[in-house]
Symmetry: C3
Subunit: 157 residues, 3 copies
C-alpha cells in the first residue's frame, strides 16, 4: 500500500465582493488564509480566480499610497478618457446588453494584469512573503463581483 | 481507509494551432471545455500553458472590436517599428537561427502578458464568468503553435 | 480498489538567490528541472512563486540583448526617476521601515508582471518550449530573495 497517496484535500469556495469605486484594490488575504486553515491543508496550493473580464487578481504590498501609484500606472497605460472601439455602440454587434457601459479602458487594464494567482501552501499556511498581500482589483466598479478559490493538497496530521 | 483520496484524475493534452495573422486572438475555450468533460472531472483545475516566447494566454471577453483595442494597446506598449536590440543580428551571438526574424516587439508584448492560465473546475465544468473566454494570443504570426493543457482533480460519480 | 489514485507526489522547496543588480533576470530553469527530476514526477505541474513585491517570475527567451530590451520596456512603463507617492516618506504612514528605500517604480513594474508561473510536467520533464526559460526578475536589487516551488503529480514507474 506504499504507493497510495496520503490523505488529500480538494476544495472549492466562492467569495462575493461588493465593490464601491471605479478602481479599487480589495485585500483578499485574510479570507484566503481562513479558507486554507479551514481546509486543514498541510502542503499544497490555492488558485484564486476572478470570474470577470474587468477585474484582476494581483499580489503586491498593501500600502495605501502605493495603491494610488498603481492606479496612476493603469490610467497611463489605458486612459479612462481614451477612445476604445469596444465602447462604440453604433459599431458593436457582439455581446451588446442593456447594461452596456463604456469600459474599454477597464478591459485593456485587465489585459495587462493577471486574472488569477496560484499560491503555495506550506506547514498549513498560505505562503506569502513579508509584504505580499493578494488583491482583487476592481477596474470598472462599483459592481457585484464573484471570485473562485480552489484549494488542493495533503492534509496535516 | 478514510484517509484515502477519492478517485483522482491527472491528464495532459496538447493543442496544435496554425495562426494566420501577425497578431491574433484564438479562442481556446470550447476545446478546453471538451478536455474537462472528457476527463470526467468533478472538481479540480486546469493549467493551459503556451510553449512559445512570442505568444501569451489571456482570459478576457470575445468581442471583436475589443480585440482590436487590445491590439492597439500592445502596439502602443511595444511598437512594431520600434528599435529592439534583439533584432540587431550584427550584435546577437546567442540563439541565432536561420529562421531568425525581427520579433523583439513580440517578445516585449509577451513579457507584459501571462504565458499560462490556471482555471478552476467545479461541478464538472471549467469555471468561467459570463464574459470570460480563454485565448491564445499570437504576437509573431503566422506560425505553427503548440499549447500544453494539464488537468487535475477528483472524478465525479 | 480501482478508484484509488496512482502514487502521487506533493513536494515543496525553496530557492535562495542573491541578486547583484538593480534590474536582473536570473534564469531558474536548470534548478527547477532538477527539482522535478528529484521528485520522480511523471505527469503533473510545478508552481514557482516569488515571495517579494519588487520581483516577478516570467517565462521568455534567454537572449542577453532581449533582456536589455525588457529592461528598456520596464523603464518606459514605470521610469526609475518618476514620482511615486509610495516614495514620499513624509506622507507614508503604513509599512514604513528603517530599511525603506525609494522603490515605487519597482512595485509598479512588478504589478505589470506575474508573481508566479504554473508549468506543466510531462514524461518526467518540465514542459517548456524550445526557447522558454523561467526567470526570477529582480526589480529593486541587489537583495536577498526567496522563491517557493510546489510540485505535484503522479510518480513514474
Amino acid at each position: 500500500m506504499e504507493t497510495l497517496t496520503p490523505a488529500s484535500t480538494c476544495r472549492h469556495a466562492r467569495i462575493h465582493i461588493t465593490t464601491r469605486h471605479p478602481t479599487e484594490f480589495i485585500d483578499l488575504t485574510d479570507r484566503l488564509e481562513r479558507l486554507v486553515a479551514d481546509a486543514g491543508l498541510h502542503v499544497g496550493f490555492l488558485n484564486v480566480q476572478t470570474l470577470h473580464t474587468t477585474t484582476a487578481v494581483v499580489v503586491n504590498e498593501h500600502e495605501p499610497l502605493l495603491l494610488t501609484d498603481f492606479q496612476a500606472l493603469l490610467e497611463a497605460a489605458a486612459p479612462g478618457d481614451g477612445r476604445y472601439q469596444h465602447d462604440d455602440t453604433t459599431a458593436r454587434t457582439v455581446n451588446v446588453t442593456d447594461a452596456e457601459r463604456p469600459n474599454g479602458h477597464a478591459h485593456c487594464r485587465a489585459l495587462l494584469l493577471p486574472s488569477s494567482a496560484c499560491l503555495n501552501v506550506m506547514q498549513g499556511r498560505l505562503l506569502l512573503g513579508q509584504w505580499q498581500r493578494v488583491f482583487l482589483v476592481e477596474l470598472d466598479g462599483p459592481r457585484e463581483r464573484d471570485i473562485s478559490v480552489f484549494i488542493f493538497g495533503e492534509a496535516g496530521q
